[in-house]
Amino acid sequence: MNCISRSLRRARIGTGFSTVQRRCYAVQAPGNPPPEVFNEKHKWLQRERAASKPEASRQVDALRDEIASRLCERLLDIKRDFSNVLDLGAGPCTIARTLTQPNPDPDSTQPITAPLSTRISNLTCVDTSPTLLHRDASLPFNHLLPSLTRTVVPTLEQPLPFAPNTFNAILSCLSLHWVNDLPGLLGHCNALLCPDSPFIGAMLGGDTLYELRTSLQLAEMSLLGGTAQHMSPLADVRDVGGVLQRAGFKLLTVDIDDLVIEFPSVFDLMVDLQAMGESNAAVMREPSGLRRDVMAAAEAIYRELHGEDGNEGVPATFRIIYMIGWKEGEGQQTPLERGSGMVSIKEVLEGKKEGSGDDK
């Protein structure tokens, strides 16, 4: 308003030239879209293609199964019954299958407990790829759950078709690393949860497959003189805590697990990643893919730099970031107010003063 009237006045005062100067307040456009890192359509195609060969796809389920079992172990710690649980980015409903097993970890020293599914009355699996989601729909574990719903959504980035305060827990296993707007999705998850309910997720991040990344870079540098992006960028462990906090979660726990898996060769690793639907889907990826001579060179460098003596195969590291956040609710533990501490922790740690129970 101000801006317009001033520019009109200047135009009137001016000597016939239309040299209108405008000065406006800089306003950030609302709803700035998040940067697009991954091509969603491409990712969808990769997962559809992978799931269209069920046999090959089931052969590479081991990693997903292992991580799902570790994720469900974390659910064991919560002594509650869940009436409504969401599995976000379910893939072939791996979490549902793990929940029906008597013990998430078969090698555990803990006594065998009843399957977690007995404590869950309704499980909703959500994914973008219908073929992958329904891949195991005819397997027996489907009948062991009281109620299992499969919902196909066009994208995880848009708000999911559920009402706020619907779910008593949200689980997510190995799907968050392909999400462009992670803070937005987690914020939306926070809204979907009932008060005082947990979000438990596992995603690949940090140094996952650093061996492959570095070998490809070295091979391309020596053969072509430059590098292209053949592996998608991943979130770092340090960022995850901040993202959870931004989404409004409380009582955060973030921890990591490194899984090192041995593959016969780099080619087997790449074929398996493809069968898992985990090929590169970054927007800035090299469209032509990998050249054959780069692959051969990368195999030689990988073996030399990362291969262990005496082992036939090559190791591949998967770093899994587990995150737990709770939606704010009544009766939840909260940190004390800033400045309310009466005891110096320095003195307690140095042993000058015994920490007493009445400190606040």
Binding site: M221, D268, R292, M295, A296, A297, R303, E304
Partner: protein, 60 residues
């Protein structure tokens, strides 16, 4: 895989696997100074590797 025809990458992987000694020589050459890699570094070793796997591919 149970498909009758092997995928190209499987054929290629088998061919490269037959050239482990040339591969090791190339890998050692790069790994010896991997902080300083430029174009055509160790190209002689690589060409030997390439010759080997191209020959192995042709044999099939």
């Amino acid at each position: 895989m149970s498909t009758a025809r092997a995928r190209p990458i499987e054929k290629f992987a088998r061919a490269v696997a037959q050239c482990s000694s040339q591969g090791a020589a190339y890998g050692k050459c790069i790994a010896a100074d991997f902080n300083n890699v430029k174009k055509d570094k160790c190209i002689d070793d690589f060409l030997k590797l390439k010759e080997c796997y191209m020959a192995a591919l042709k044999k099939k």
